[in-house]
Symmetry: C2
Subunit: 245 residues, 2 copies
C-alpha cells in the first residue's frame, strides 16, 4: 500500500566528516545546497548524542557559520518541546545513538518532532546517530548501548531503518567478530523487521515528500527479509522504500 502523500523534507547522512577534513565540512557544504530551497537559514540543533551539549553545539555552529545557517542548541531552551514547535529546521548530530534516543524520550520530543516534520513540513537533517533516530528504530545502529532508552522505536520519519558508516566485509580479515552484513542479517532473522538501508560513508539520502534519492559519492546496500542484498549507486531512486508494507 502506498502511503498517502506526506509532506516531508529530510537529509539523512551516513557521516558528517571525511578523513582529513574539518568537522562537518563534508556534510555542511551539501546541506547548504538545500538551504534556500528548504528555508534553512536557522536551525534548532539537538546535541543529545554527546554529553557536552554546549561544546558540541559550538562546533556545529562554527561549521555552519560560513554558509549563513544560524544554529541554536535545544539544551539552552527552557522548554524543549516549545523549541521544537517553533523551529524552522531541525538538525540532529551524531555521537551515541542510545544516548540521543534516550534524550528524545526524556524530553518528550518524539511526538513533537514527528508532528513538525511530517505535518508542518519542517526540514530534518541528521548525520550518523541523527540519521538512525529518524528511522523506524535504532536497532541497526553501530553504537554501544551505554544508556538504556525505554524503547528502540525512533522517530519513524521513514518506514525503514538505516545503518550509517556502513563498511563492506574485508575478505582478507581474520577477525572473528560478526561483519556488518552478518549483524544486519541477524536483525532480519526476526520476523517482520523493516528494510535496512546501509549507507557507506560519503552517502546520504534526500527525502522530499514521497520521493527518496541516494546522494553523495559512495552508494548503499539494501537489506530486506527474504530477498538478496541489492546494491545502489549514487542518484538511485529509492522512493519505493517510502511505501509502507
Amino acid at each position: 500500500m502506498k502511503m498517502s502523500s506526506t509532506s516531508r523534507r529530510l537529509l539523512l547522512f551516513s557521516n558528517s566528516s571525511m578523513a582529513g577534513e574539518e568537522y562537518l565540512q563534508f556534510a555542511s557544504s551539501l546541506i547548504n545546497q538545500f538551504k534556500d530551497g528548504w528555508g534553512m537559514s536557522k536551525a534548532l540543533f539537538i546535541p543529545y548524542a554527546l554529553r557536552t551539549h554546549e561544546d558540541y553545539t559550538e562546533k556545529v555552529k562554527k561549521a555552519f557559520h560560513p554558509f549563513g545557517i544560524e544554529i541554536e542548541g535545544i539544551h539552552k531552551a527552557e522548554d524543549p518541546v516549545a523549541a521544537v514547535r517553533s523551529a524552522k529546521a531541525i538538525f540532529v548530530g551524531g555521537g551515541n545513538t542510545f544516548q540521543l534516543l534516550k534524550g528524545l524520550y526524556d524530553h518528550k520530543l518524539i511526538d513533537p518532532i514527528r508532528k513538525s516534520v511530517l505535518q508542518e513540513g519542517v526540514p530534518y537533517v541528521g548525520w550518523s546517530a541523527g540519521s538512525n533516530v529518524a528511522t523506524a528504530s535504532i536497532c541497526t545502529t553501530n553504537d554501544m548501548p551505554i544508556v538504556h532508552p525505554p524503547s528502540f522505536h525512533a522517530l519513524a520519519l521513514v518506514p525503514f531503518n538505516i545503518n550509517p558508516h556502513f563498511v563492506d566485509a574485508d575478505p582478507n580479515s581474520t577477525h572473528m567478530g560478526e561483519t556488518r552484513e552478518q549483524r544486519i542479517e541477524q536483525y532480519h532473522e526476526i520476523e517482520g523487521m523493516p528494510p535496512v538501508l546501509a549507507l557507506r560513508e560519503g552517502s546520504f539520502l534526500e527525502v522530499h515528500d514521497d520521493s527518496a534519492f541516494l546522494r553523495g559519492r559512495s552508494g548503499a546496500k539494501l537489506f530486506r527479509t527474504g530477498k538478496p542484498v541489492e546494491a545502489f549507486e549514487p542518484e538511485a531512486n529509492l522512493s519505493f522504500l517510502l511505501e509502507s508494507s
Copy 2:
C-alpha cells in the same frame, strides 16, 4: 573494599573460534583443560544468543564431544529455572548479546544463574556474548540492538564489564565511525561506570573465587574512568578487578 571471598569459577572468552579453524575449536580445547579440576563432564548450554537453538546446540555438542563433555540445551527443558538449578556447569554461547540477555530475562534466569554460580560454585563458561552477559552490564557489547531487553544489567558474576573481540584502532584507517576505544571512552563519560576489560580475540579470563588471571595468546586493555588505558599481557594477575569499588 575487598569483596568477601566468593565461590566462583568462570572462564570468559573473547571469542570461540580462530580464523581457519572449526567452530569452537580454539575455546573447547582450552575449556577441556579445566574439565577434570572443575567437574565439567556435563554442561547445560544456553543458546539464546542465536535464534536457531537446536542447530546451535548441535554445533556446540559436536565441538565438545571429542573431550567427553556432554552438552544439554536449555531450550529442551520444560522448566529452564529447574534446569539451571540442577546444572553441574553452565555454558553460554555467543551471537547477539541483546537477544541473549532478553532470553535470560524472559525465562527468569538471572537470579537462578547468579545463585548457582556465586553460591553453589557451579562453573560458568561464556564466549563472546556469553562473556558480556556474565559481567555487570551489556553496555560494552559490539552487537546491534536487534531486540530490547528490559534492562542492560546482566548477571554481574564479576563487578566490571568486558568488551569481547577487542580490536586496536588502525592508524591508517580513513573510516570515520568511532574506534572501539572511543566507544568505550564514551561509556566512561557517564559517571560511576565500572571498568571495562577489553579482550582481544584469543584472550580469555580465568576467575577462581577471588582470583582472576588473563589467559590466552593476545592480551587485553583495561579502561577505567579517569585513568590512562592500561595494557596487560597473557598471564597477568587481574584479581584487583574483583574488588568492588
